[in-house]
Symmetry: C2
Subunit: 212 residues, 2 copies
DNA sequence: CCTACCGATCGGTAGG
DNA sequence: CCTACCGATCGGTAGG
């Protein structure tokens, strides 16, 4: 099978739409017909790219992972190694929520809640991403420790759990209450836990308006 | 309209089913036909109790709130006022997850993720419950403070945010990874944050097996 | 990538 | 509380 460059671009555009829509409608609530319409295609056209809804969901998770890596991981890793890098990753996470990179907040928070109780390939894909994310936080905590910027008796895995908890809480309560104050709460908790005094960068891009 | 006792019991049974199912399928994924079948009724029979799907969803949120109050709030409030009561509420929350009172974990975590980006009556109902829950944690933190069991300079609202974050993270990661170790992580974070040394009660009821 | 179609199920209603 | 039905949409397929 020959995959043309145009075909790839179409596929990418569909999956970008899918990742965005899934944070509002859910990975299951997102229907093929709805996605086809949003992409300006026919349903049949979509099935030329994805053989089944589950295949589409898996490709959507993979696309969301790519966006997450670009927006959060790479942005954070640009900071100098150690405590600053750990803080920068947390900052980048909060920033991508505040800027509404996904209209419904963190893609993986929505996905976790949706497939958490439904074993299968989609849950496995979401779990793998979450595992990598927690491992990254743990590794960065360990590096900060190695540089003497965090107490040696801290458990990096425990720290990763607590940072993840604060970040996700900010995401969920921001969406539910539409109140930016939760970012201050999360950041305050993170600083307190890490014994740091760093200030958050302000988002550069303006937050996108909520879809009516 | 006369509401018979039998009618009330039927309604309660339907809503209990709905609350349980919604934690797996979602409030939207839960269909009227599916719920009718699970309740041993016809679809038409369900519409005798609820005029629309949204009405059913609102009644389901209310039922879930009732279960949450019984399982978590009342259980926790039975402990003596102060730090012990705050810890008991957190313990009761973790226990209701561990015992799988809802098959898909905390009802309101699922609901928040689902309706967080979709304004409407259902989101408002979920937000109201969440507001009450955070207020409860804040009030209990304040009481512990008044008794001198927590430092006076702590912000009770900030504390409530952080406790909620740890509890919800335990819920989500427990479901995703099927690993009870997250309860220790959450409890460790809670104790650390509160400067407490309390041990968790072991769940009395055996965890229910996962639905295949 | 399209049109045209399949059976199944969706939320909801009529009439009893 | 039931049966019987409505139009719309679901995931998916055939054939081009």
């Amino acid at each position: 099978m020959v995959i043309t460059r145009a075909g790839e671009r179409t596929r990418d555009a569909i999956l970008l739409q899918a990742a965005q829509l899934a944070t509002v409608e859910g990975l299951d609530g997102l229907s093929i017909g709805q996605l086809a319409h949003a992409s300006g295609m026919s349903k049949g056209g979509l099935y030329a790219h994805f053989g089944s809804k589950e295949e589409l969901q898996l490709a959507t998770v993979e696309t969301a992972r790519g966006i997450f890596v670009t927006e959060v991981v790479r942005t954070g890793l640009a900071a100098p190694r150690g405590l600053r890098r750990l803080l920068a990753v947390c900052d980048a996470f909060l920033s991508h929520i505040e800027r509404r990179v996904f209209p419904g907040g963190c893609f993986f928070v929505v996905a976790m809640a949706e497939v958490g109780a439904r074993p299968g390939p989609v849950r496995a894909a979401v779990a793998a991403q979450q595992r990598q994310w927690l491992d990254l936080l743990e590794r960065l905590a360990g590096e900060a420790q190695a540089l003497g910027e965090l107490p040696a008796e801290l458990d990096p895995a425990q720290l990763a759990f607590e940072l993840e908890a604060l970040l996700v809480a900010a995401n969920s309560l921001f969406l539910l209450f539409d109140d930016q104050a939760v970012f201050e709460r999360a950041w305050s908790g993170i600083k307190h836990r890490l014994g740091a005094t760093a200030a958050r960068r302000r988002p550069i891009t303006k937050p996108r308006p909520r879809a009516g």
